[in-house]
Amino acid sequence: MDFNLSAQEETFRDQLRAWLAKNLPKDARRLARAGEHAQEDRVQFLKDWAKKVYDGGWAGVSWPKEYGGVGATLMEQVIFNEEMARAGAPEHLNVIGLGMTGPTIIAHGTEGQKKRYLAKILSAEEIWCQGFSEPNAGSDLAGLQCRAERDGDDFIVNGQKVWTSLAHIAQWCILLVRTDSSAAKHAGITYLLVDMASPGITVRPLVQITGDAEFNEIYFENVRVPVANVLGGINQGWHVAITTLMHERGTLAIAVQVRFRMLLDQLLAKAKKVERNGRPVTEDPIVRQKLAQMHIEVELLKPNGYRSLTKLLKGEPGPEGSIGKLFWSELNQRLEELAVEILGPSALLQAGSKYAEDDGFWLYQFLRSRGNTIEAGTSEIQKNIISERVLGLPRG
């Protein structure tokens, strides 16, 4: 057990820091923030940034060299994620390509698929979106109804998907479809790689509680997808999808800790400036207890994540990722609620309003956090997974 970096890891970190100091645009945080300016400018900025990271030799730290990756250790991948977050570097635009498509193709793709898709994910030349959920298949993902019928060398896809982030700018989509409706629920599903430029695809933005449209609905009407674009075998899609979901809940969650650390630091700094009844609110023992508890939980995310990473290092990510997802999503809600509590009613004023706290930043965070325990598998589903697949309790 060693919570310090090894010499090699330190070198990796220092080199990355040096590169970031030279290459990260000063106004990156502003340019990357949603709603601040035209959507197209933001996307272009993020694409340029991703390309810069790729050209700098930093993209896909743990991916094999032959497909455009760095070929470094998973631990170095984590250090990379941490350092990028700490430096305030924007999230990679191709978050689904990087966190889900890539690892799934590496695990289940043919050599041809690996060569075709992986490098372009890293360079953000091709942005990916995820077509898993449907209006009637949310928590019960395997109950999906979007269907694909074989027609020669193609599948013809009809149906609807929902909650697909990035669909409006994506070139490609990982899509789950039902290819055998006579088979058992989990057995008739196929995992397709779909070109978003295919005729018959309509994308409709979905406005959420924050007023933003982060997600989309996608409609498929007789969309042709070559059989060559099946990932992992016809009717084998559920097994392949599990890899994607595990990566979503496992690897992606690790970078999250740094963001919460920074968010909490921001709250601590803000709280020190807030007065209540003429005294700094941070002198209030009740507030101190709550902030201390936040500090503890945010800090624990890190060894928690690292300890499941130890299992990850030995192979595929397992259902333990659900513990991390459950923890951080619930934690973030408490953190944002605490921020609103400390800042008081002015925290509820909208961006642009006089007296709004940090121009509505905390309000946005507070509202957005409600989605955390729903997206990428609700807390209820995570608890099912933890109890059944980690603890071995019987299925209902």
Partner: protein, 381 residues
């Protein structure tokens, strides 16, 4: 002892429920979100015609002479309907300040105007420091020897219903020395008086508007003083008590519809081949929500009853109600979103409207921690 509503009250509820279902569906509420004023003056007149604006006021001012317990029934329905209206600011706050603190002449002049819906009003109390104690009042009113009136200077923030209000009831310090509780007066200020600026403060809850009120060397006459000089703080406390009970009653109504929507959704939404309501992950939170909802109602009804019949017990009862029902209502709204899953997180679904109003209600005029400390004091800790 009797812990239910009587027949008249049940009828009142039924008529309020059907009125708001007809006049204030959420499609209407959404329209009001984009309205500059934030509510419909036409509907406000209808509400006044229903008599609800006068429920609490003696008949001689044009009211019905009933009490808070009766009003709670209507307020629950208003919360359930997410009613955008100046009811809280005009009827509960400014109106109560006038009823409880003004001279008889002022009452006779002003209350009928508010009750009839002719004029709206706002209670300009809190300032940018957010304090709810008399110490927090920095606005000051200085006697103007020449006119016999006053000159008022100050800034009020997060004033309920300020945008669009005709009349402002402004709290200001009238004595520089001595305990703050004996140095505050209330003034009746026409919103059009020179030196008064009202700026809307767009908030997450678009169904109830708040604003900033700036007063720069605002000159008012002698008769602008509401009741007696320096003696307004006890009136302010009573107004806040009424406002908090009103907020809680609305919160209970809001929480009730959130739970109803959730139960209904759980009965019809099918996942894993079953309505999700069969899963204990849905069932048990619903049971807990009901427990908190019923307890919220108990707290609100008792506080309303105490305001009517046991004034000594009222401040404690109000603090209990606000801390409990304020937080519980928010939790119920938040859990409703969770139990709805993705759809509950969309703009399209109404749940976010309840959620946003519930959080705002929780924090308005003191959150749970503030009111629990009031409870601690009241029980001798």
């Amino acid at each position: 002892m009797d812990f239910g509503f009587n027949e008249e009250q049940e009828m009142l509820r039924n008529s309020a429920r059907s009125f708001f279902e007809r006049e204030c569906p959420t499609t209407f509420v959404r329209k009001m979100l984009d309205d500059p004023l934030g509510y419909s003056p036409a509907m406000w007149r209808k509400i006044a015609e229903m008599g609800w604006t006068g429920l609490l006021y003696p008949e001689k001012y044009g009211g019905l002479g009933l009490g808070m317990v009766d009003l709670v029934v209507v307020l629950e329905e208003m919360g359930r309907a997410l009613l955008p209206s100046p009811f809280l600011s005009t009827i509960i706050e400014a109106g109560s300040a006038i009823l409880l603190g003004a001279t008889e002449a002022q009452r006779k002049r002003l209350l009928p105007q508010l009750i009839s819906g002719e004029k709206t009003a706002a209670f300009a109390l809190a300032e940018p420091n957010g304090s709810l104690s008399a110490d927090g009042i920095a606005a000051r009113a200085v006697a103007d020897r020449r006119s016999g009136g006053f000159v008022i200077d100050g800034v009020k923030a997060l004033v309920q219903g300020a945008p669009g209000a005709d009349l402002l009831v402004v709290a200001a310090r009238t004595r520089a020395k001595g305990p703050a509780e004996k140095a505050v007066s209330l003034f009746l200020v026409d919103a059009g008086t020179p030196g008064v600026t009202v700026t809307p403060l767009p908030s997450v809850d678009g169904t109830r508007r708040v604003g900033e009120v700036r007063l720069r060397s605002v000159k008012v006459g002698k008769d602008a003083l509401l009741g007696r000089a320096d003696a307004a703080w006890p009136v302010v406390m009573k107004v806040l008590d009424r406002a908090n009970v009103a907020l809680c009653a609305e919160q209970a109504g809001l929480a009730q519809i959130c739970l109803e929507l959730t139960v209904e959704y759980a009965k019809t939404r099918v996942q894993f081949g079953k309505p999700i309501g069969v899963f204990q992950a849905i069932k048990h939170p619903c049971a807990e929500m009901l427990l908190e909802l019923e307890s919220s109602k108990s707290a609100v009804y008792y506080a309303a009853w105490a305001l009517d019949h046991d004034p000594k017990a009222a401040p404690l009862a109000v603090a209990m109600a606000k801390s409990y029902a304020g937080e519980a209502g928010y939790r119920i709204a938040a859990r409703s979103i969770q139990l709805h899953g993705g759809i509950g997180f969309t703009w399209e679904h109404d749940l976010h409207l309840y959620f946003k109003r519930a959080k705002t209600t929780e924090l308005t005029y003191g959150g749970g921690t503030h009111h629990r400390e009031q409870v601690a004091r009241a029980i001798g800790l």
